[in-house]
Symmetry: C2
Subunit: 269 residues, 2 copies
């Protein structure tokens, strides 16, 4: 969490605004605001580790605004849908929803001019897919490396840039994933059901962006009770080497495994 990469959320705004003082009963929406209804969309940053790299699922917009740009999957919130429900429904059009091993709310963006065609709020989710599957995706969608300059490859004719504020949202998602990898068991959502430690360390490397020693990763995750041996092992490759033991995550739901590193309650409690 929060750790590096731990999200700072919308903490970048500073004071400003006037002091209005009224008192007494006030119906839920009063004040200077013209009580308005706004369009609301739900987006998802779906990550998967592919070929050793953390990738995001994006689709290419076929019409303005941002025609030809890459955008996060998602769409308008239905009239009677919950937010999580909505993003699951919408992703079913892009990815088989059964493959989503984890989904959590990320942030909501409400900048009045984030959408050129009128006020639109967007609630973004972070979704994860295990590395071993290759879901069928529509022709206009593609997996993009989520590397630092999120998508825009300069001069290349192919990917012009990302639409709306979606690049920033991908950034939040990466930070969130990175943070949670260090104090929760989210790894389960990136890895296949069974894996060797060197495979797992490659997934971690891809998601964290830096080297992860398989040997230490093993001990850390074992000590925390995140993973366990299946008892089986895979035969060594053509080039020899000791056969690798297979592991699995003990839980397949998000758990916090490294609660307070500091300021923890006194021992006798």
């Amino acid at each position: 969490m929060e750790r590096t990469g731990v999200d700072i959320d919308g903490a970048d705004e500073t004071a400003g605004g006037t002091l209005v003082r009224d008192s007494g009963a006030r119906p839920v929406g009063a004040a200077s605001g013209e009580a308005s209804k706004a369009a609301h969309e739900v987006l998802a940053v779906v990550f998967q580790i592919r070929e050793g790299r953390l990738c995001v699922l994006l689709w290419r917009r076929a019409r303005p605004p941002f025609e030809g740009c890459w955008a996060l999957p998602g769409g308008r919130l239905g009239a009677a849908e919950g937010l999580g429900e909505s993003i699951r429904r919408q992703l079913a059009q892009k990815v088989d929803v059964r493959d989503l091993t984890h989904l959590e709310q990320l942030e909501t963006r409400g900048d009045p001019d984030r959408h050129p065609h009128g006020r639109t709020l967007a609630t973004a989710y972070l979704g994860l897919i295990p590395a071993d599957i290759d879901p069928v995706i529509p022709r206009d969608t593609r997996w993009h490396p989520a590397a630092e300059p999120p998508v825009p490859e300069p001069s290349a004719p192919e990917p012009p840039a990302m639409a709306f504020d979606h690049a920033a949202i991908v950034g939040s998602a990466r930070r969130r994933l990175r943070a949670k990898l260090s104090y929760t068991n989210v790894g389960f959502a990136l890895a296949p059901p069974e894996f060797t430690m060197s495979q797992l360390s490659r997934y971690y490397r891809a998601a964290l962006g830096h080297d992860v020693a398989a040997t230490n990763l093993r001990r850390v995750l074992l000590r925390r009770g995140q993973i366990e041996e299946t008892g089986e092992s895979v035969p060594s490759g053509r080039s020899g080497g000791r056969p690798a033991a297979l592991f699995r995550f003990r839980a397949r739901r998000l758990e916090i495994t490294d609660a307070f590193a500091v300021l923890r309650p006194p021992a006798g409690c």
Copy 2:
């Protein structure tokens, strides 16, 4: 994160939903959803430490729904307002906005029937106020201890319960604050500009819900560079004792001071 008290966000939803497959261009909001506009409100969980307890600012609803219940301050999002901008404006009606030392987005709730009078999404913020001030608040608002059973005191005629899903939101806010106290410098937002270590440890105790030894807190925060001595000290009280040194937070903006406790990048990088 974190750690206990670290937020699990909306991770409690599991798969379900059908597999729809269409491809080709699709305008931002297509699919089964009837593209609708929904009311959107912005709420704030404003915490302050008062008399050694973590308290939330609540106001009492004067009319249905939830007449007589306690609710979070906030209201409808204005037509041309950003989310953060809106909550700042709305809080200006309850608390002098200059006193808010920290504000961050918490979560967005969109359960279709969270509001009996029609679909209403709510984006909640976490706001903090330093312990040394006592802002003027309207007659219908009050500071409530944010203790475990958030507000509802059984049998007492006074506070019946909390309106809507606000009790759950207060819970999220407490977990978030608690988590961030252990890996960021949020303490600055709860403490007055200058403080002694035993005062600060009382603030931490109130926010975390468990004892915090002043002696260790001092070392931890000094090592992390969060606080520094002002050079001054306060005279001891009537009962004697060594005069306490005054400290201040070195930064008054949120910073992550305890990035990755684990899985940190290899030393040479």
